[in-house]
Amino acid sequence: MRLLNASGCLDALTAPGVARSLDGFVTKTITPLPREGNAPPRIAETAYGMLNAIGLANPGRERFLAEALPQLRELGVPLWISVGGFVAADYAETCAALEDVEALELNLSCPNVDEAADSAAEIVAACRAVTALPLYAKLSAAHPDLSEVARAVAAAGADGLSLVNTLRGMALHPRTHEPVLARGQGGLSGPSLKPVALAAVHTCYAATKLPIVGMGGVAAGRDVVDLVACGARDVALGTILFSDPDAPTRVRVEIGDADLDEVFGTAHESAAVHA
């Protein structure tokens, strides 16, 4: 089990010590052109999670390749590059420009920008055609038939899946009842996502047997063990890093000597469980 950060939840260049405490660093999603992101306020706290509408703020492909990537390589941490875009060609051009990294994660599921025009499978196929690097398809749990999407991206050549991205949510000011986020709605992350993540990993493992990076509401060692039991090979920490930058080290201590190979997939053993 590799412990990673969830995309958009850590900047290895401002917090290199936190990045080095992980088995791999996943970048914020890189799009072809620079994006400032959405207008502030773009985060809000709710009872069991937080909302974000960052809107894929990133320096864009060219500046990422020229400036950030060389600095990231110096950290000596395996790099996962999160790739985004609006049509399949956007994703494929970025994938084609990358080499010597651990893996590419295709963000097919950001709730804070308008939907990509091409289907998840079309995007994966376009990327598969231009790179031999491991390709992980990051999906949203909001799809009505998640196992079908998982099978489609597997058939298109994905090597693995990243599950889950945030779910769309909204928060209102207690007195004015206006949306807290300037964009109105945002992506829900944190503790309330954990049951959603367990179900999504369970469903997609049963549907494809692909390696899965599980994430969503992981805050403690117990959450890692649960995701592994549902079929996650690797696990990513997101929102917990905001309140606890020491979480990677703490979570490893909490996992202790639990045998994760033994735990892997055990949630599938009961015949009563349906995907």
Partner: protein
């Protein structure tokens, strides 16, 4: 270097309309005035950003305005309870100023007591919305104080180098009067260390992370 430690509450005192929360310092550095700490707010998912108000060899103290669930939970702490504290974070005030004038509006006075200590003696002007809020001026004994409808900007004498913290309209007014002033801004923050991109503010026409570039920024 910022550190994250679990520290004990050593005191919780009312100061007019505000609350002064004292924590034992442990291995935490106080940092530069204007830097901030992320304090665990019991029962809440995300920590809250607070400027250091006072530092002594054994304690760090924060001045709080209870405006919502997080600051209310912090004000309800009792001596002996323990919370995680992470800091110091961000960029504080430059202290190499020849004729400093400290300007504070409301809870924006929070970083000024520690700033005044580090600068040696510096004149200060404070504005508050009521007499009860103005009782917090006791933390900065030599300050000149006004209460609304009078505004603190009336007390700013040109020719000083201004170091200010307060509500946004006050900071915009100070920026317009005093080019080069050092202003401590606020934004909603989830992490305080550059991880979430939630704290974006407009700096010279570009959205930047306030916790990384600020919170103290120089007025254009």
């Amino acid at each position: 270097m910022p550190r994250r430690e679990r520290r004990s509450v050593t005191g919780v005192e009312r100061v007019g309309a505000y609350t002064l929360l004292r924590l034992d310092r442990g291995g935490l550095e106080p940092g530069v005035p204007g830097q901030f700490f992320m304090l665990e707010a019991p029962g809440r998912l995300l920590p809250r950003a607070l400027s250091l108000c006072q530092a002594s060899p054994g304690e760090l103290a924060f001045l709080l305005d209870a405006v919502g669930p997080g600051t209310e939970a912090l004000c309800a702490l009792e001596p002996g309870e323990r919370i995680h504290v992470f800091g110091p974070l961000g960029n504080g005030f430059r202290l190499d100023v020849e004729r400093p004038l400290l300007v504070g509006g409301g809870i924006g006075m929070a970083p000024l007591p520690y700033l005044a200590t580090r600068l040696g003696r510096a004149p200060a002007v404070l504005g508050f919305r009521s007499e009860r809020h103005a009782e917090a001026a006791a933390l900065l004994p030599d300050a000149e104080v006004v209460v609304e409808p009078r505004l603190v900007t009336e007390l700013i004498d040109p020719g000083y180098e201004v170091l200010a913290c307060g509500p946004e309209p006050m900071l915009h007014a100070v920026a317009a009067m005093c080019p080069g002033a050092q202003l401590a801004w606020e934004a909603p923050m989830a992490c305080g260390y550059g991880a979430c991109y939630g704290c974006a503010v407009d700096v010279d026409g570009e959205l930047k992370r306030l916790c990384v570039e600020g919170p103290v920024l120089e007025a254009a």
